[in-house]
């Protein structure tokens, strides 16, 4: 299984966690986040949990700082994104 930048970006686009695409942001809006996620995986095969943790870490750096409540609200979507990335990479 190889997790590619294209797969991650497509997943982030579809999920549009911050709702920026829906107000007209370009296709590359989450490109950097996709690149960072793939970079941090560095070729390893993550579990859904570890991938969700990477997504959360990257997201917090890009859009944070988040309060504990903000993190809690986003946690399900981080898990969902991780799940979809793994599914789309198989």
């Amino acid at each position: 299984m190889k997790i590619t930048e294209a797969v991650v970006q497509k997943t982030l686009d579809e999920e549009d966690i911050e709702g920026l695409r829906e107000i007209g942001a370009p296709e590359d809006e989450y490109l950097h986040e996709a690149q960072k996620i793939v970079s941090r995986l560095s070729g390893s095969e993550p579990t859904e949990e570890s991938l969700a943790a990477v997504v959360r870490e990257v997201w917090t750096a890009s859009f944070g700082p988040f309060s504990g409540e903000d993190i809690e609200k986003r946690s399900p979507v981080f898990s969902k994104v991780a799940h979809q990335i793994l599914n789309n990479s198989r």
């Binding site: 966690i17 911050e18 709702g19 920026l20 107000i23 007209g24 942001a25 370009p26 590359d28 809006e29 950097h32 986040e33 960072k36 970079s39 941090r40 750096a61 890009s62 859009f63 944070g64 700082p65 988040f66 309060s67 903000d70 609200k73 986003r74």
Partner: protein, 314 residues
């Protein structure tokens, strides 16, 4: 000489600014007043009518045109015995001479600059000493090039390229570019070092390979101004994107939208009434400003309140 900019500057670098600014001030006050108008020194006249000035613990006799105590300096290991010695120029061993006995044509300004810019084009200029000290300090995981790396990134004849400042993941978050202060500048003239030495180059405060920088009086004044500005600011290297989230800073930089252009768009949108405030997906209100062909999204609450999340051409 580029002018100093005011706002964003990496935190770790500026964290070291107070003491650096003080060092800069002390170093500067030691200079020849005639070549550095506007500086302040403590002047006095002895009973014999000999006037002298005191700054940085080194007395400079106005009458004799030389320092009254050795032009020593300290580094991390303590006092340097012959701090500015250049083996190709024996005159540099004279610790009492001011600009190698050529005060009418040179100024011992310590004035050699590095211009640090973020990805948004916001820049901050500092002296070589400030830069070198800050580079050695903790920089929050940033990889900041050394002064030598910055100074050697050029053609040796006065043209310099930008050297990247990267974060821990290798992403470029800013640049450092050497700024030559004039024709006797070491890095600008490293291809003609021997010629420079024979021409009795100005002594600078940076040791080792850069032991004899030069600087014009005009350059020195500009550097002094930059130093004061630098010390007065509270911005930092980690604050490269003040007013923006990291995502916002990256998106704006990549799309060629300056923070000022985004702020202008916000103001124009407010005047035109083209502002939409919506609830973000996770309960945080966001305002969407559209004007000047740019759409800007600003977080309105929480830790990022007031920060630009993204901007794009519309």
């Amino acid at each position: 000489m580029q002018s100093a900019s005011s706002s964003a500057f990496p935190e770790p670098l500026l964290a070291a600014m107070p003491q650096l600014r003080e060092k800069l001030r002390l170093g500067f006050e030691r200079k020849n007043p005639a070549l550095n108008p506007g500086h302040t020194v403590c002047n006095s006249t002895t009973a014999l009518g000999v006037s002298w000035s005191v700054a940085s613990g080194t007395r400079q006799s106005d009458l004799m045109g030389r320092f009254m105590s050795p032009d020593f300096s300290d580094d991390d290991e303590g006092p340097v015995s012959i701090p500015y010695y250049n083996p190709s120029n024996p005159q540099s061993m004279n610790l009492y001479s001011y600009v190698r006995n050529s005060p009418t044509t040179h100024a011992d300004s310590d004035g050699h600059d590095v211009n640090v810019c973020d990805n948004n084009g916001q820049c901050h200029q500092m002296t070589n000493d400030q830069y070198a000290a800050a580079q050695k300090a903790g920089n929050g995981g940033l990889n900041v090039p050394t002064l030598d790396q910055v100074g050697m990134n050029g053609n040796g004849s006065g043209q310099f390229n930008s050297t990247a400042i990267t974060d821990s993941s290798g992403k470029t978050v800013g640049t450092a570019t050497y700024v030559s202060d004039g024709p006797t500048d070491f890095y600008a003239n490293r291809n003609g070092l021997n010629v420079l030495a024979n021409a009795s180059a100005t002594v600078g405060s940076v040791k080792g390979v850069a032991a004899f920088y030069g600087a014009s009086a005009a350059g020195a004044l500009a550097v002094y101004g930059a130093g004061l500005t630098a010390g007065a600011e509270a911005t930092t290297l980690g604050d490269l994107s003040s007013g923006l989230t990291e995502h916002g800073a990256e998106r704006l930089a990549e799309r060629g939208i300056t923070p000022q252009a985004a702020r202008d768009a916000i103001e124009a949108a407010k005047k035109a009434g083209d502002v939409v405030t919506k609830m973000g997906r996770y309960g945080t209100p966001q305002s969407v400003y559209t004007a000047n062909g740019i759409r800007v999204v600003v977080e309105e609450a929480g830790a990022n309140a007031g920060k630009i999340i993204t901007a794009f051409f519309k």
